[in-house]
Assembly symmetry: C2
């Protein structure tokens, strides 16, 4: 953020506004405070005939890695609508959204991930614009080493674990930044 | 949004960018797309000795009405940290955050509300800067007609209902815009 989106001036400050308790971008000219808040990434665990629908990312980050359909929640939609929309956009599948399932805090990147359980309504899927491949995976054939994000692996592992009991309690966890290996320093 | 926060130009468009599927603000000069996404409001149900801590709002909207401590989630924090921070800021109480409890979609105002169960650690509370009063309420003495938002009433009613069974499943619901009465037209 370099210019005030309200008045166009370039004299943005980054300091604690009067009456606030943390630094914000604010405009010296028109006094507008430009709040920045975490974003929600919403997705689904789309199931068909005991298999889970994954898609291969064709965009960065993690291009070429497999993911559950998920993306930034949009204004004007519910979490469930967002999960269904992402499943349609990324894997061309129509999914009935069931219960809330996993919630992950990623404070280092200002994101909250939210996944819902879902059922593919007719078994059909395809390859969406931001994907290079899509497929229904047996739960013992998930490409664990080729998953895009920790949120995906944790959600899938919870799902496999919960299938044994048939109960799917909501899981809420933090995800820490990936450790860099010493060789990367 | 009237000016590009990236380059300061005033020639913002509101239309569907190439490769996208919904209208966005974007800058004709530098091509930056200015995404707008829902915000998370996070709060707690702070319990002490069977009573719940409410605070009276001293800011608009709904100034003078009672609320559970809640506010916009900040960058760099987890949902739980946000819930504890809001309880401290609005009611000067130190709360141990337990399980995720309620999640509400408010798509008409681009918000998702998230409440956690919490325990006030020492029974102490006070009146925060954005509050004009605070108090521990017996569950049969909640001021139902003076609650600030539907999310507050629903969360409190769920809590009272769930106390009977001692189980507090996560609840996820939509909240529709308030109906205006004909006399308000
Ligand atoms: Zn300004
Ligand atoms: Zn620009």
């Amino acid at each position: 953020m370099r210019f005030c989106s309200h008045c166009g001036h370039s004299n943005l400050q980054f300091s604690i506004p009067e009456g606030d308790n943390r630094p914000r971008y604010w405009c010296e000219n028109c006094q507008t405070i430009h709040y920045q808040n975490p974003k929600i990434v919403v997705g689904a665990v789309p199931i068909w005939d005991g298999k889970v629908l994954l898609c291969k990312r064709d965009i960065e980050p993690r291009k070429g890695y497999w993911t559950l359909p998920a993306g930034f929640m949009e204004n004007g939609e519910t979490l469930q609508e967002g999960a269904a929309r992402e499943t349609w956009e990324e894997a061309c599948a129509t999914v009935a959204i069931d219960d809330l399932y996993t919630v992950f805090n990623l404070p280092h990147i200002n994101q909250v991930y939210v996944f819902f359980l879902g059922r593919i309504e007719d078994g059909k899927y395809g390859v969406g614009e931001e994907s290079s491949d899509a497929g229904l995976f047996e739960l013992d054939a998930i490409p664990w080493d080729e998953l895009a994000f920790p949120t995906i692996g944790r959600t899938l592992r919870f799902y496999i674990e919960d299938l044994k009991s048939g109960t799917f309690p909501v899981r809420c966890q933090d995800i820490a930044p990936l450790q860099r290996r010493p060789s990367e320093d």
